[in-house]
């Protein structure tokens, strides 16, 4: 049997209340002498207050939940690391939940987290209509911040990268390099962020008076294979000279397809990716890409959640981060070929 507050009380000849007071650093409600005596025996016996019991009475567990599609995905593990670092600094522990974007898993975890009385939840989901779940969450009046998504729900806060802008600056970079025939490999278009990136691409074209051509767009799946297939399709018969690929993984697939077709990057086709994963510096040529501040988003999400939990008001419902263009070796100026 673990040692309890009563044990400490008995041994130090005080009441449990007094021990509780020193445990919680209550402002000078205890004489210096007894406080010291209590502190000593606590140390001596290596007593640890039972957070479960404490949570039951205070209705505060110092625990938050983080619900994401997949911790194995570098983007989410960076976010998770940011969240956990922040949480740890603020005295919170973090429950990790992987949903694979499955609705049933999402709601299962939400229930579990509610039962375990977490103080708040940070939620990420790629599939669009999970607003339903989120609102169910709020129904239970538990603080929520949504990460990687702009959000328009009362009492829910959103931390996200401006994906539209990401698509825009990626494409603009290509346009600035004189490219006119710019292809686009998108993520699954049922996915909100994928659409935003595509919209950014379109807008950049529009702003430069380049007519949008649907044939130059191919839908991928955010995986290497999907990028490869989409690229194969786009380079066949089309005379694209550049490609905006909605994530790095698909860009790697595109590399494969392009090289397999005997073309060179960037001489024949310039490529811009999205995410700036570690590999993009390793692959050859090094990938020009759009960086999302994943870790920082995690930090901010946690910060916002703590604010809400402690009843402070958060000024804006949404906070967006600006993606950055990281120029490396996979893009170059378009030169009309001399045949």
């Amino acid at each position: 049997m673990a040692i309890t507050i009563k044990d400490i009380a008995r041994i130090t000849n005080v009441s449990a209340t007094t021990v509780s007071r020193v445990l919680n650093n209550k402002h000078e409600g205890v004489s210096l002498e007894t406080r010291q005596r209590i502190l000593d025996t606590i140390r001596e016996l290596d007593y640890k207050p039972n957070a479960i019991a404490r949570g039951l009475v205070t209705k505060k567990t110092n625990t938050i939940g983080i619900i994401i599609p997949d911790i194995s995905n570098q983007f989410f593990s960076d976010i998770a690391r940011g969240i956990e670092d922040g949480a740890s600094d603020h005295g919170y522990n973090v429950f990790l939940c992987n949903t694979d974007d499955k609705l049933d898993k999402e709601s299962k975890y939400i229930n579990a987290l509610k039962e375990k009385c977490v103080d708040g939840i940070i939620f990420a989901s790629s599939s669009m209509p999970n607003i339903k779940i989120i609102s169910e969450l709020i129904k239970g009046s538990i603080p929520v911040v949504v990460v990687d998504r702009h959000v328009e729900i009362e009492n829910v806060y959103g931390i996200y990268t401006d994906n539209f802008r990401g698509g825009y600056i990626a494409t603009k970079h290509l346009i600035d390099l004189n490219h006119k025939k710019i292809g686009c490999i998108t993520g699954p278009l049922g996915n909100h962020n994928s659409k935003e990136r595509l919209d950014g691409y379109k807008q950049a074209l529009l702003d430069s008076c380049i007519t949008f051509n649907e044939d130059l767009v191919a839908e991928g799946n955010y995986k290497i294979n999907g990028g490869m297939k989409a690229a194969e399709k786009l380079i066949r018969n089309k005379q694209i000279t550049a490609l905006f690929v909605s994530n790095d993984l698909m860009a790697y697939g595109a590399y494969k397809a392009i090289k397999a077709a005997g073309l060179n990057i960037p001489e024949d086709i310039s490529i811009v990716g999205f995410d700036d994963t570690e590999l993009s510096q390793i692959i050859e040529p090094e990938l020009t890409t759009i960086r999302q501040p994943a870790y920082q988003m995690g930090i901010e999400a946690e910060r916002a959640l703590i604010k809400i939990i402690s009843g402070k008001s958060v000024k804006d419902r949404n906070k967006s981060f600006s993606p950055n263009l990281i120029i490396r070796k996979s893009t170059s100026k378009y030169q009309a070929k001399i045949i």
Copy 2:
């Protein structure tokens, strides 16, 4: 105020005890009729039992902690995913803790997890002497399994890859390809697993009667840069024809160094990596490497922990996984050069 078991009891005209019985599926202690009535109002009111209160009395929280150096590291996030998947299947939630291998963080998290009454802990640490901490853990008699490390402590279980064997088969592959001058880039040698891999390399050499040459070994840091520097050192003046690199990241660095020196892979230098990260299929030439079953190790670690928690005996203190050689394009038969 959330709705409690008493509310359900009052509304259904039974005692809390009876509600508790149906909540816990007590074997037929309740008439079919009342059981149904209770179930109905539970559903109707969307009542969720408070796991905190339950945990306080049962001394069982259905929660485990996972303490790892860094969730952003692909190897650990794969392990974590395996653990979490298993835990979820068994009705457990997991606390995520990142330590960066720092002793103070490790002990801070251990205390926090104890206070939160986790049912068990899965622990990974690269720095060697954390046995102390682990034993402190046991002192509190909480079930522990150590992952990514062989372990010789009573009541502590180890799940790990056989790193010695990994180093061995990597080197053996090179030897089978006729290489004699085989270099080795190690991880930090203060790290136990790094040493094991190096020992495997030495043993393979020995078994093939190739004299070990200390000059052909360079210590790295498991990062790209370290691999690059170590490779630069090894290819300068040394006539190595092959290289065993203790992780993929350093292998990527070695690629850079080798290409920068105007050499070709595998024609001039064959390379074997370690880990089989996703990139190894993307980089050119595709990397021959040693795969660690990280996800599977997570699954097994969780399984072992659950066993211990539920009081079942685990037959072996340690369970090792065999690493696999994945042959791709970065290794080829050594041919004496015709000058």
